[in-house]
Amino acid sequence: MSWAVDNRAVKVARMQLINKWTFLGIPAIILTGSFLLSLAVFAVIPVPDAPKYSGAGQAVMWYFFALGIQSLTLTFPFSQGMSVSRRSFFLGTVGLFAVVALVVSGLYVLLGMAEVATKGWGMNGRMFALQWIADSGVGVQFLFYFALMMLLFILGFWFATVYKRWGATGMLVLWLAVGVLLVGLVALVTWQDWWAPVGTWLAAQGPLGITGWSLLFTALLGGGAYLTLRRATP
């Protein structure tokens, strides 16, 4: 039984890779493109002392957010036509993305090391080895990138699941709920005058703490997405 399920989940991953562009080609292009573009920008602005930061490393992460949405809205209904259970679809899709995220995270760490070794590509540029995270060691860096990518993908996946199951109304309710929650939290912190302790706590978390919290949040969202998907119709 479980073998049959896992086998179908692997097939789902292979299905997601039938068109290689979606999970492999486009991320590779975004990664290379934003890297080359940043190098070009570094070369144009000559400031020798202070490091030049580029946000280009994020570009591919936002694509992962969109990928999370897309792999649900379009591929889920198709997988239903292929007689795939919701469980296999979830495991196969999220599993495949986890592998992609692992590879890209590794790549980020390697590029970050190269960046440090070449003194910012010889131009004191910073794209991968961001100061506060590069100081934490390879393991934490790797986990940090991985957690961030998973979070964005699952976030997109979960939003799309809610949309699939409850439609535009569900989406609206969800956004309102998130908004109310955030405003409520801010109001609570302000009212109780907790800003100082909150700031201290955040600063104390460091990259490893933030990574941990992201992974926890990702796991919660992933669980929520799975439970929502269990009753979704194509």
Binding site: R8, I18, G81
Partner: protein, 321 residues
């Protein structure tokens, strides 16, 4: 004789947002036996797609039970991987072309026959490398038909597979279906409202109307089970008195009455003596007339109003023949 592979009991479905309106399915019960071709017939919106969705665990029932291959199909890979159901409004990934879709189908359907898929795609003149979202309605239907046939799944559903296909392509589908079924017998459920086109292919017929099953019979026992008697209204009345009338039409002094049952040679002779004409009733006419009768039996003003709209549809249904 044949093994029962589907058992449906008291299946009811209310769609969210349909308010207090009639349910999409209202206590539907039936069973399906292995290796036969079934026709799931009925008008648009009668509940055909809803039934197939629930049987394949793509949709959810409000009440009632469904057993497929003796088990609940929901999240049950052991049942699901023996089924193929490409819905009429099937969605495909945005970046997929037909080749991609066939590759995916080859992954999931154990009996997939790639050479059959390629042959069918050629027959239907399907552009394999064009993105599916850029295909015409007919080509989109053809993608579904190819997957349905080439999957050779033990239980295959075709959901109005002919939409957008021209007469030649539809005939091609019916021919290939009979051909492949003969070679690889399996259970086929064909949902359709073009009854005349598929009637001869069917071994068993299930007719659904307004979420209820109104006929569930062997196709052969339905054929010739009713007869239309036409002629002078008064004589038609005399001849049909005491019989079960399915449908009645009048044209001034003339009348045509469809009655249930087979006439004996003596009765046929009697009709001839009265100068009445006896005409066979096709499966489609039978279904249409039974469907209309259902509305009349409601008796209420609502029923009469519905009948009005129904007859419009009947005319359209018959016009498509």
């Amino acid at each position: 004789m044949s093994a029962e592979i589907i058992r449906v009991d008291g299946l009811t479905k209310h769609y969210r947002g349909s308010g207090d309106g009639a349910p999409a399915l209202d206590g539907v019960s039936f069973s399906i036996e292995a290796d036969k071709i079934y026709g799931l017939l009925g008008r648009n919106g009668a509940g055909k797609t809803t039934i197939m969705s629930i049987l394949t665990a793509q949709g959810f029932a409000t009440a009632g039970s469904v057993r497929v291959f003796g088990q609940n199909p929901y999240e049950n890979e052991r049942v699901l991987n023996r089924i193929c159901f490409i819905r009429e409004s099937q969605k495909y990934p945005d970046d997929f072309n037909a080749n991609h879709a066939f590759k995916a189908a080859a992954l999931f359907f154990d009996n997939w026959d790639q050479s059959l898929a390629m042959r069918l795609a050629k027959d239907f003149q399907l552009p394999l490398k064009r993105r599916i979202k850029k295909l015409s309605r007919g080509q989109l239907s053809a993608v579904g038909v190819v997957i349905g046939l080439a999957s050779r799944a033990e239980l295959t559903f075709f959901d109005e597979p002919y939409l957008g296909l021209d007469a030649v392509a539809r005939q091609l589908f019916y021919d290939r279906l009979v051909e492949d079924y003969t070679e690889y017998p399996r259970t086929i459920v064909l949902s359709s409202h073009l009854i005349d086109e598929v009637a001869n292919l069917l071994e068993h017929v299930i007719v659904i109307d307004q979420g209820r099953i109104i006929m569930d019979d062997d196709a052969e026992s339905l054929r010739g089970s009713a007869v239309a008697v036409a002629g002078q209204a008064a004589r038609v009345e005399v001849f049909t008195a005491g019989r079960t009338v399915i449908h009645r039409e009048g044209f001034g002094a003339l009348a045509s009455v469809t009655i249930d049952g087979v006439l004996s040679a003596g009765e046929r002779a009697e009709a001839a003596e009265l100068g009445l004409e006896l005409a066979p009733v096709s499966l489609q006419q039978l279904v249409v007339r039974r469907t209309i009768k259902g509305a009349v039996d409601d008796g209420s003003a609502d029923g009469a109003a519905r009948q009005g709209t129904k007859q419009g549809d009947t005319a359209r249904m018959e016009a498509t023949r």
